[in-house]
């Protein structure tokens, strides 16, 4: 754009880089720290030697985590949840978005249905009534409690229906004249041209299911039914334990604490891996999805 080589400009470019590097480090260093702790020996960690690089490198904490049956069980619950949850999310999203993408002269109740769904973004029953409904429909302690209440992600549905609306009408009119019904038009015309949008939504749904933890905590009475993030919540979140460790005079509390620290770090790192793996795709599609979502009807 503008190449202004004055001293002021150079000074600005320098300090701009300095600020941006500091900000980026603030995002990166905490992650590096937890990774370094997870790969260090607990003696090095308790001696306060570990910063952003492993000291006395060991994979012991990862071996420990892999041998923890609670962790493995929770991972299995999470995987079930993700597979079932994303499949059902996508099915309902596609099936609801197609009719709602039609013009009013094709689908006369379109507006009514649309409001029916949008109201749920604006208003909800809140934690207690929702909990009661889940209880009354016998979902407590089943995986369906984590899947059915959020089976239709309304925001995703809006994104997809806006995408569907941009598909040229000529395509489906031609198919219609050839005698194709709505099911066929959806399957043969809409879905194949929507793969980028669908991929984006699959990532959204994956991320939601993988990262959710409060529903697991709320709707599962038995810890062996916890998905990974809910299980992690019970392991990693320990401010109260810190208070106890601080107030207890004996150093026993603190020592226990340090020994657990490498293991906890390993569990955090393991739970981050799937997100980091899909991150390049997320970043690529997420912005696109946002732009899709903002296209007006």
């Amino acid at each position: 754009m503008l190449h202004n080589n004055t001293i002021g400009r150079k000074l600005f470019v320098f300090s701009n880089y300095a600020v941006l590097i500091l900000v980026s480090l603030s995002c990166l260093l905490p992650l590096l720290n937890v990774l370094a702790v997870s790969l260090s020996s607990s003696t090095a960690v308790s001696a306060g030697k570990v910063w952003f690089w492993p000291v006395e490198f060991t994979t012991k904490s990862y071996e420990y985590v892999a041998s923890t049956s609670a962790y493995v069980k929770a991972l299995v619950v999470s995987m079930n949840r993700v597979v079932l949850g994303v499949a059902i999310n996508m099915l309902l999203t596609i099936l609801a978005a197609y009719p709602l993408s039609k013009e009013k002269n094709v689908f006369r109740l379109r507006g009514h249905y649309a409001w029916y769904f949008i109201i749920t973004i604006l208003f909800n029953g809140g934690m207690i009534p929702t909990y009661m409904v889940i209880k009354q429909t016998y979902l407590i302690d089943t995986i369906w409690a984590l899947i059915l209440p959020t089976a239709l992600p309304v925001f995703n549905m809006i994104v997809l229906l806006n995408f569907f609306r941009q598909i040229p009408k000529e395509l489906e009119e031609a198919a219609h004249i050839d005698g194709a019904d709505h099911w066929r038009i959806l399957l043969r015309i809409y879905l194949p041209v929507s793969t980028p949008a669908l991929a984006t939504l699959v990532l959204f749904c994956f991320l939601n299911h993988w990262n959710s933890w409060f529903d697991g905590l709320l709707y599962m009475n038995k810890p062996q039914h916890y998905p990974l993030q809910s299980y992690l919540q019970t392991i990693v979140i320990n401010v109260a334990a810190q208070i106890q460790a601080m107030s207890s005079n004996g150093s026993g509390g603190i020592m226990d604490f340090v020994n657990q620290r490498t293991n906890k770090s390993a569990q955090i790192v393991l739970a981050m891996i799937p997100v980091i793996l899909i991150y390049p795709f997320l970043q690529k599609y997420f912005t696109k999805g946002l732009i899709l979502g903002s296209v007006k009807g």
């Binding site: 603030s26 006369r108 029953g125 208070i243």
Partner: protein, 299 residues
């Protein structure tokens, strides 16, 4: 002819049916379940069989000694987050926009966007670890420069600010990406003609860049109004503790303790309803404003 049209709409109704039913059961029935705020609800008697007590639950909750403090904490933390989550991304986006090397821009953007995708359990785990009074790296640095260590999460003066800072840390990448996208939409010829007029970078930022992304800033501001009572349940639930209830307890955590821990279903629902109604008004107003000022419609 009319009948034919109706026949052709049948598949469309069928397609929407599964979503319709799911949303009815898990969104609309709970809305109806709000009546338990006006009942003395017991699970045995259910939504329909419990005794109605009028506004007693509301009278009861507004007699809590802490309720006004909780309301204040909620609005205070939420407002600071709203402001911070607008200003920080705008500033970072403007700074990134000054970079001439696309690769550098992209690298910074990639790094700062990452925390956005981690769950609050993971992020809270990191925060607890980093801010730990004995081993956390923040306190190690403080010790190194000779400052007394601070138990940030156990100190009620620090707690709200830690919530705001860590929330911004997790979320600013998202806003940055949105504002960067808006920045690329500014007409480059505006800059070229301003150079002819002798405007420097700072003048350009003030008179071209900022006005250029003003609609998006207004839009983001308006849409965040709906969060005025969302102080961040997932974050605070993980990080708060009895030592910081005075400044850290918010409406949602109160509902949780009252309803789920103490099983006082009706008063908890009353608190929740109070929040839902105010949030609904704010969201409705914000959508109206967004439509008016930024020409934005979600649907």
């Amino acid at each position: 002819m009319h009948k034919m049209k109706w026949m052709r709409e049948i598949p469309l109704h069928l397609m929407i049916l599964p979503a319709f039913i799911i949303v009815f059961i898990y969104s609309y029935v709970p809305m109806f379940g709000i009546i338990i705020a006006f009942q003395n609800f017991t699970p045995v008697n259910g939504f329909l069989g419990s005794k109605y007590v009028g506004l007693d639950n509301f009278k009861y909750i507004f007699q809590f000694p802490d309720i006004y403090q909780v309301l204040w904490n909620t609005v205070y933390i939420a407002l600071m987050k709203i402001v911070g989550n607008l200003i920080v991304p705008v500033v970072i986006a403007l700074l990134l926009n000054e970079l001439t090397k696309q690769f550098h821009k992209r690298t910074f953007q990639t790094i700062v966007y990452l925390p956005n995708f981690l769950s609050w359990v993971i992020v809270s785990g990191l925060i607890i670890d980093i801010l730990s009074p004995s081993e956390g790296i923040v306190n190690k640095v403080l010790q190194f420069v000779g400052i007394q260590e601070v138990f940030f999460l156990g100190n009620q003066n620090w707690f709200p600010f830690i919530m705001v800072i860590t929330d911004i840390w997790k979320n600013f990448g998202f806003g940055t990406v949105i504002f960067l996208a808006a920045l690329t939409g500014i007409d480059p010829t505006l800059y070229e003609s301003s150079i002819v007029d002798g405007a420097n970078r700072w003048k350009q930022t003030l008179h071209i860049t900022l006005p250029g992304i003003k609609p998006v800033i207004i839009l983001m501001t308006v849409l965040s109004l709906g969060n005025i009572l969302n102080a961040g349940f997932e974050q605070i639930f993980n990080l708060y503790n009895p030592m910081v209830y005075a400044t850290g307890d918010i409406i949602d955590t109160l509902v949780y303790r009252l309803g789920i821990v103490d099983a006082q279903y009706s008063p908890a629902t009353a608190v929740g309803l109070f929040k839902s109604v105010i949030s609904f008004i704010m969201i409705a107003v914000s959508y109206k404003l967004a439509d008016k000022f930024a020409n934005y419609r979600i649907f």
